[in-house]
């Protein structure tokens, strides 16, 4: 093989991020709650060991968590997003290529080395990210993406220690030959990447229970029973790569919404409302075309000549996950506007630009990476009403409904935005 594939998975990612900036949490059980503090979405090892399941409603486990002295944090996506970016950047220093798979997982390609050398590389990677970003990672390596995923599951089987240090052993490199056969015999087909419940059932009916049995099936049988997707999977299990890393698409399509003001605009609220309207229109356009955006830019400009002096500026930011969700875009548009807004000039024009557009494809991804079905339903309803009842029938307060106050989510125990807000920097004591 020319390259090896590695799947890197950050251990208890949200919890690990909290622990970087709050060292007292390293020795305590920790949970992170979903938006509105409803469900447990990240657990430290001690919490997993206590049998508290992923996604559990918090109120059902509140007493238990309290009894075990657990720290509870509301989700702090600004922090997790920034830490994810840092970890991915670090991995890119070592990888030949990198595919960001979710907020806390990435596929890497590495030079094809001997198995013990790959172990060493993986352990170096663990030490490096633990040292530099403070996040423990798990590494699974194989000659194909599918085998890297299998290896990652194997690495998961080694019991971790509840610490920020990478526990030795949370690395697994897929073996060759007989040893690989023996390993694949222990992997149930239902646990393979891309095998859903329906296929698992079909395979069960045909007596195919393990990954080893699956890869031994003739190609024609695989194609007939599981389509070309199943054939590809089996081929990957045989060690021949069919799935490549997905690079960031090179499409540079963008979408612009802007308009010159008819009158003189000097105050921020009016400017904000205008930018909000443009963001809302742009979001509708995205959804109409089945696209999502990865980058948002806001620009403002004054009259080019005359007094006061010309002022023009723009600010942009990366959207992760990519989105076409109006409230998200509105919120970020407002935040960006705040960065560039200056008092007093007479503004002539304002607008938004969406970049890194790509088709919205349903992908097998991270649990929290995908848009919430309720969100999708809401956006559909909004678009439908505006189409049938006329533009502006339903809108968002941020795009200009007089007297509306900005609402906020319930996030009672959110940690500070340590890495993205000046006001929230971590504090080092110099007192003793």
């Amino acid at each position: 093989m020319d390259t090896a594939f590695a799947l890197v998975d950050c251990e208890n990612f949200y919890v690990s991020c909290e622990r970087v900036f709050e060292p007292s949490l390293r020795t305590r059980p920790v949970v992170v709650l979903s938006n509105n503090d409803g469900c447990v979405i990240a657990r430290s090892q001690a919490v997993k060991d206590a049998g508290i399941p992923m996604g559990a409603p918090y109120f059902q486990w509140e007493e238990r968590l309290d009894a075990m002295g657990a720290a509870v944090r509301s989700s702090n996506y600004a922090l997790y997003g920034d830490m994810s970016r840092r970890v991915m950047h670090e991995l890119e220093q070592v990888a030949l290529r990198l595919e960001r798979y979710s907020i806390d997982e990435a596929f890497l390609t590495l030079p094809a080395l001997e198995r013990d050398e790959l172990y060493a590389v993986a352990q170096q990677l663990q030490r490096r990210v633990a040292r530099r970003q403070g996040v423990p990672i798990r590494v699974g390596i194989g000659p194909t993406k599918t085998l890297a995923k299998v290896a990652d599951e194997k690495a998961k089987g080694n019991r971790p220690v509840d610490t920020t240090l990478p526990p030795p052993g949370r690395v697994y490199v897929c073996p060759d030959g007989e040893a690989r056969t023996a390993m694949l015999r222990t992997v149930p087909v239902a646990e393979l990447w891309g095998i859903g419940a329906a296929w698992a059932e079909t395979l069960h009916e045909h007596g195919v229970e393990t990954a080893e049995q699956l890869r031994q099936q003739p190609d024609s049988w695989l194609r007939r029973v599981l389509t070309v997707v199943g054939l590809r999977l089996a081929t990957e299990l045989r060690g021949l790569p069919c799935l490549e890393l997905e690079d960031v698409p090179a499409t540079r399509k963008s979408l612009i919404r802007s308009r010159s003001f008819s009158g003189r605009v000097t105050d921020e609220p009016t400017l904000r409302e205008a930018v909000g309207k443009h963001a809302q229109r742009a979001a509708e356009k995205l959804r109409a075309e089945g696209l999502v955006a990865g980058y948002l830019e806001v620009f403002i400009t004054t009259k080019r000549f005359g007094e006061p002096p010309h002022y023009a500026n723009a600010a942009g930011g990366t959207l992760r996950p990519v989105t076409h969700h109006t409230p998200i875009l509105l919120r970020h548009a407002r935040r960006l506007l705040r960065i560039i807004y200056r008092d007093s000039p007479t503004y002539k024009k304002a607008g938004v630009i969406l970049q890194q557009l790509r088709p919205e494809t349903p992908r097998q991804g991270h649990l929290f990476d995908d848009p919430d079905p309720d969100d999708v339903a809401l956006m559909d309803a909004v678009d439908q009403l505006n189409r049938t009842m006329g533009r502006g029938t339903v809108g968002f307060a941020a795009a200009g409904v007089r007297g509306e106050r900005d609402w906020t989510m319930k996030r009672e125990q959110r940690s500070p935005h340590y890495t993205t807000q000046w006001s929230d920097l971590p504090v080092a004591k110099a007192e003793g």
Binding site: A78, D82, R131, T420, L425, V427, K429
Partner: protein, 147 residues
């Protein structure tokens, strides 16, 4: 998650260099006379370049307290901390001690390393062997507001 209300999800913050580009607009050209300096405009000076060698492992940390004033680190200052730098004897470090972040001088002694405050009347703290990750990061710069 079925319980998730259809609300805003907090998305990643904009990256600093993307979030706040310095406006680089050409000089205004009143009547077609370009500024003689236009050809020499290459870029603006970016303080990040000076302060940040490795962006992915550099964090800003605020100082609270007076135990490092002799090292030129004052209450309210901002430390530029690079976690990729290995601490050596004499490094100023941010360390995780007793569940808190603290800023100290790192000293390697004959028997053990210690964390040493630099101000009258503060005792130094020996580091036990097992506290391997006690050093959180090495301080590379101090940002101090003068007036």
């Amino acid at each position: 998650m079925s319980d998730r209300a259809p609300t805003v999800t907090d998305v990643y913050q904009a990256r600093p260099e993307e979030a706040c580009p310095v406006a680089i607009y050409l000089s205004r050209v009143p009547a077609g006379f370009p500024s003689p300096a236009d050809d020499y405009v290459e870029q603006t000076i970016d303080l990040n370049e000076h302060l940040i060698r490795r962006e992915a492992s550099t964090f800003f940390v605020r100082v609270a307290g007076h135990s490092m004033t002799d090292a030129g680190i004052h209450d309210g200052d901002i430390l530029v901390v690079d976690r990729a730098v290995e601490p050596t004897d004499g490094s100023v470090v941010v360390a995780a001690l007793d569940g808190e972040l603290t800023v100290k001088r790192y000293r390697v002694g004959e028997k053990h390393a210690s964390l040493v405050p630099e101000s009258e009347g503060y005792p130094s703290i020996p580091i036990r062997k097992e506290q391997e990750l006690v050093v959180w990061g090495v301080v590379r710069h101090v940002i101090h507001e003068v007036s």
